[in-house]
Amino acid sequence: MDASYITPFMTSIQNVFSTMFQLPVEIGEPRLKTESTTTHDVSGIIGVSGEMIGTIVLSMPGEAAESIVALFTGEQMAVDTDDFADAVGELINMISGNAKAEFQRKSVSISCPSVVIGSGHRVASNSGTPCVMIPCTTDCGEIVLEIALRESEEAANTKSAAA
């Protein structure tokens, strides 16, 4: 995957967490997600469409997610509530939107967020699209951003026709 697809997300999660609730994020070494990689208990998911397609996932262990949501909302919320899911959705929405602005492409859209909560779930990305995991260390715990993005066929065709 093009490294320029990954870097904006590193900057974005740091920007969102520091601006909204002053939580520093230390970025680890990105690595490819494999079939056997487990997903944390809480996943905030955004779909990307247009000239780039794929998914972006904010994956967090339950305890870390509870602490982060408490900082974000100012309230302690149970993981199984609608308000908790809403907060996780808004976080991944801001991270994705912020990163998208750095792509310098005219036609990339993001979906409204979805949130999956439960141990042992797996978020699958489109086959043929590699998924890069960005480990992030915070005072609330270790969390992961998963980026599975590629150029759409339409955009690739337009580019090759112009070349």
Binding site: G89, E90, M94, G97, N98, K100, K106
Partner: protein
């Protein structure tokens, strides 16, 4: 001052409410998408709207275009993750008076609200 907060995220509406209450604004109404907002503007008669862009049912841009067909003056501030310059221009062309990119600090939101109200000649 009556302020309508239009965002599908309750978390974001709560954050905005908290900032607005600190600024002394307490007459607040909430809508979870553009359609919901349109159904509330008649009765609530907002003097300022904060509008998200990406929402289900009716997005913020469609709301702004629809609202501006009958109301040319009520100040509208787009509060969104859509940060590309082309989007900002699109929103301004549709009729928003100011633009705030998420994430934002309480100070930034306060500044943009004050700036917008002053620009639109609204007495607070």
């Amino acid at each position: 001052m009556r302020i309508l907060l239009i965002d599908d995220s309750k978390t974001m509406r709560n954050i905005q409410k908290s900032v607005l209450k600190q600024l002394g604004y307490t007459d607040l109404e909430e809508a979870c998408d553009g359609q919901d907002a349109l159904s509330k503007v008649g009765a609530f008669k907002p003097e300022l709207c904060l509008v998200d862009w990406n929402m289900p049912t009716m997005d913020g841009l469609t709301f702004v275009k629809t609202f501006r067909q009958t109301d040319k003056t009520t100040p509208l501030i787009m509060v969104t993750t859509e940060a590309e310059k082309s989007r900002v221009i699109e929103a301004i062309k549709a009729g928003v008076n100011n633009y705030v990119v998420k994430p934002f600090t309480p100070d930034l939101l306060s500044e943009r609200i004050a700036e917008t109200l002053a620009k639109c000649g609204v007495n607070t």
